[in-house]
């Protein structure tokens, strides 16, 4: 029976067979009963009954199930509300009904995924906007220093940060760069936590880099996984004494171009990354970077030194150092920055950005130099489509 139930042609063949068998059986019976003729009425009545039986079977088994599924398919195609159809046959119509149900299930899943993706994209845009708002748009005027700082995220939300914070007594300017492991939302959330903590502590009067790093670490470590951490360098500029100090938290080297000798010093930031261990008081120190007029400090994130060219070679510290050695003599932080990033862009070429990149260039111009506004740029305001195709180049 299954052979007949699962195929419309077999069903039609069965009904035709039933019709032929009925005619043959009636003929044989009449012949045996030696009936040479029957009334027309009886013949018509029997014929109508047999045809009615076949028609009813055909309607119940083919027409009704087909109409049910066709109605829902039409609703689906014309954008009306549709519902799943319970298959009552196992023939081609049953298969079609099952197929319709599967298709609509997949469509609902795809529709949900699209809505969810739109929602997430919208939330990422909001997160990106919040992060932009946290990053500095302008910094305090800094007599003696010429500063350019730029950052670019590899995703909607970045893990690199920098900021310029003036102490409440206006005597100390804190300049810091931070780089959270990886990039994207987890890195961005930690970056936001650190920015908030540092800003709060400076406004509360914490007046040296070491205390800022130690206290930030104390508050951050219990709140994040030890797999995530932030490396940082905190510079403290004593405006009155015209002295620069640094406190390292496991960050990349600090580069210092010496105008007099035209060499580049690489200073290990020292310390340990924020968030790795609960107490870093014994590890972290604040030290001075002696500066003479014309000297230039460069802070950068590992997105620059770990950037690759099209054949996989890394930019590495030596290329950045060589670039600074070539351009450190230039008169302004902006011209040095532009040339450093030009060299960098030429190296990486078409390689697509995979990590956040940040660089701060600080040139010491001397106490009597004209006050210059800090130039800041946060490149996180591009649409996702633009960012995906964005090349490394900054210039």
């Amino acid at each position: 029976m299954k052979f007949i139930r699962e195929n419309l042609i077999n069903k039609a063949f069965l009904l035709f067979t039933v019709l032929v068998a009925a005619v043959v059986t009636v003929g044989i019976v009449l012949n045996r009963m030696q009936v040479s003729s029957i009334s027309l009425n009886l013949f018509l009545a029997v014929s109508v009954l047999v045809l009615a039986f076949i028609l009813i079977v055909f309607i119940l088994d083919v027409i009704i199930p087909l109409n049910r599924v066709i109605k829902q398919v039409t609703n689906l195609l014309t954008g009306k509300n549709y519902k799943k159809v319970n298959p009552i046959t196992i023939d081609e119509i049953g298969v079609m009904t099952h197929f319709f149900n599967e298709i609509t299930t997949d469509l609902e899943k795809i529709s949900y995924d699209i809505k969810e993706r739109r929602r997430m994209s919208s939330e990422l845009d909001i997160a990106s906007k919040i992060q932009q708002d946290v990053l500095p748009k302008e910094a305090p005027e800094t007599p003696g220093l010429d500063i350019v700082a730029k950052t670019r995220s590899a995703a909607e939300v970045g893990g690199d940060t920098f900021d310029f914070l003036m102490s409440p007594d206006k005597n100390q300017l804190f300049v810091y760069i931070g780089d959270v492991t990886g990039h994207g939302v987890p890195a961005g959330l930690i970056m936001m936590m650190v920015d908030t903590l540092v800003t709060a502590m400076v406004s509360q009067g914490v007046s040296n880099g070491r205390d800022l790093i130690v206290n930030t670490n104390n508050l951050l470590t219990p709140r994040i996984s030890s797999r995530l951490f932030m490396t940082s360098v905190m510079l403290r500029w004593d405006k009155q004494a015209q002295k620069m100090y640094y406190t390292g938290a496991g960050h990349e080297h600090i580069l210092v171009y010496r105008t007099k000798t035209e060499i580049v010093e690489t200073i290990r930031s020292g310390g340990i990354a924020l968030g790795m261990i609960p107490n870093v008081a014994q590890i972290v120190q604040e030290k001075e970077i002696p500066l003479e007029i014309g000297d230039t400090i460069v802070l950068y994130s590992d997105g620059i030194t770990e950037a690759k060219d099209k054949i996989g070679n890394m930019y590495e510290l030596d290329k950045l150092t060589a670039s600074l050695k070539r351009h450190g003599y230039r008169p302004s932080a902006e011209s040095i920055f532009d040339n450093l990033t030009k060299d960098f862009s030429n190296f990486v070429g078409e390689y697509v950005q995979v990590d956040d990149i940040t660089m701060i260039v600080i040139k010491y111009l001397g106490k009597d130099s004209a006050t210059s506004k800090v130039k800041l740029e946060v490149s996180v305001d591009e649409s996702q489509a633009e960012r995906k195709s964005k090349l490394w180049g900054w210039s």
Binding site: S226, R227, F229, T231, A249, I272, A273
Partner: protein
């Protein structure tokens, strides 16, 4: 010719695990590193891990982060994490983030294992 990235764990004296990392290990190999090491963290008879860096040519910040995680997890269980055989590049990367302040470095795996018994 670049060395193929490879990670494997070796149990020594039924007490120490040596994690051999070879080639360039970056975020792409992190799932493998996790799948190999996470079950080993649960083993009570193990006193500690030694990361053998003698054939390691590069690690990125994600791997450094995972090493910090291994250190924290093992320390919480009163176990040790040691690093052995790091070349200048690896030494620089680990030192830069300050891991040398909390993890002891040894020139060879043998010396690292011997230190467990001191």
């Amino acid at each position: 010719m670049p060395i193929v990235a490879q990670i494997k764990a070796e149990l020594i004296e039924n007490t120490y695990y040596v994690i051999h990392m070879t080639g360039e290990i970056d975020v792409n190999q992190l799932p493998v590193l996790e799948s190999i090491t996470k079950p080993l963290l649960e083993e009570n008879n193990v006193k500690g891990f030694v990361i053998n860096c003698s054939e390691l040519t590069f690690i990125d910040s994600k791997i450094v982060g995972y090493i910090a995680y291994l250190y924290t997890t093992l320390t919480h269980s009163n176990k040790k994490l040691l690093i052995a055989g790091a070349n200048d590049t690896i030494n620089d990367i680990l030192t830069l983030v300050g891991l040398n302040a909390i993890i002891t470095f040894f020139p060879t795996v043998d010396e690292a294992i011997q230190s467990f018994n001191i």
